[in-house]
Symmetry: C2
Subunit: 229 residues, 2 copies
DNA sequence: CAGGCACCTTGATTCAGGTCAAGCCGCGGC
DNA sequence: GCCGCGGCTTGACCTGAATCAAGGTGCCTG
């Protein structure tokens, strides 16, 4: 029976960032990966820390966020199992993490030493290309977010968030379950929990959704899309 | 006397994205670059257009922006002479421009065929590295912007914008000149021209800055930094 | 020189969304 | 059972910034 480490290593091998590696490149990098468990609420790294590693999340939930002088938090991204993060940081001249990272639900992550991976990149253009494609995607996602923050109101953001949760192949009706505490979702949408609560309530009143705890039923996807405003 | 094209080509050669090329790589790519003039107000490409080229701006000003359903514009970036843009788009599987681009002041740009440049990347890791470093920088600038938009008020954004204009080596007092029409600056800061005007006025009243047209005098940089709120 | 236009400013008004405060509910521990 | 606590909702209130509407001011053109 494979150990937990072996399982994780399999998962890593299949990830975008590693799938294009040759066997020998892969063998080179494995010793530079480290399994690490973390608790809910545990700080994983801080904004400004020197960055020597990037991460694949194997289990649990991690939030990447910033804090204003006044103490408000904005969750930049929520990381869930199978996602990598902080991989773009390694290209900086003096790499430092640009956000705080903290465990939301306890879990396990794999830390990959940036220097080792960079060495691999040097010899494989395909891998470079994958990395660049991911960075581009992230870049565009950020632009979308900036657009949503400045051009749209919070109702719009909530509705698009809900629509983003439904599987692409769904049509007509859909059911989704909220993937985390509502306060966290609110922080991602740049709103307060109160506002999120009110908007969801309003959407219920309009018959566009039904909520029971974390389960949301969308009786008519097309109607909700029209309800974007 | 060198032609305009020769001058531009020199400039291109010195740019980050091209500086690391070998002579032969450089010779390969030159035939795939195209000088192109544009007028103020001219649309250069549209959100969603297939992207086969990226650009170096040689003269003039270009804005990259999005438009909401209601018709509001948000300027994502202002491009000035010497800057490249749309270079990250070429790594997408089906490359399409993620924003609109329009001339603000008439000028001249160099269009570089993405396919040709990608071919070069394939053989030079150093070039790859430069590109990745730039993309990372852009990525982090976006995080900063998202933070400023969500965690901070518009006064904060205006003040940091002003501080961003002063040369890094300035101390004590500084003079800067606003690099474009105030309405455009406002759009970049996600504010209306009215709001920008009021904030600048308030800063004057507090003695933190003095404005005459497009010239801004900052009598005490440290005081302005404290005035961030 | 008059008129028109682009850009900016100023004031009055409105409104989305944040803040503060109270209350509700489900849950685990004693 | 009762208590305390964390997460969510609800209501009352406040405020920052957008919107709407009127002027300035400088510049170009006929």
């Amino acid at each position: 029976m494979p150990t937990s480490r072996e399982l994780t290593i399999q998962q890593l091998r299949q990830h975008d960032l590693f799938a294009a590696l040759t066997e020998s490149q892969w063998a080179d990098i494995v010793p530079h990966t480290h399994l690490r468990a973390f608790a809910a609420g545990q700080r994983l790294f801080s904004h400004g820390d020197p960055a020597h590693e990037f991460f694949l999340l194997r289990e649990g939930v991690v939030k990447l966020y910033r804090v204003s002088a006044g103490g408000q938090e904005k969750v930049m991204r929520l990381i869930r199992s199978g996602m990598t993060y902080a991989e773009s940081v390694m290209f900086m001249d003096e790499p430092r993490y640009p956000v705080h990272a903290e465990g939301v639900d306890a879990g396990v992550l794999v830390a990959i030493e940036s220097a080792a991976y960079l060495g691999i990149l040097r010899e494989s253009f395909d891998v470079c290309r994958c990395v660049m494609a991911r960075m581009t995607a992230r870049l565009h996602a950020n632009w979308d977010e900036i657009e949503a923050l400045t051009l749209q109101n919070s109702r719009y953001r909530v509705v698009s968030y809900l629509l983003g949760l439904v599987p692409a192949d769904a049509a007509g009706e859909a059911r989704v379950t909220l993937p985390s505490r509502k306060a966290l979702i609110a922080a991602q949408l740049a709103a307060t929990p109160e506002t999120l609560s009110r908007i969801l309530h309003a959407l219920c009143d309009e018959g566009l959704i039904e909520i029971h705890d974390y389960e949301v039923r969308i009786p008519d996807l097309a109607a909700l899309r029209r309800g974007l405003r």
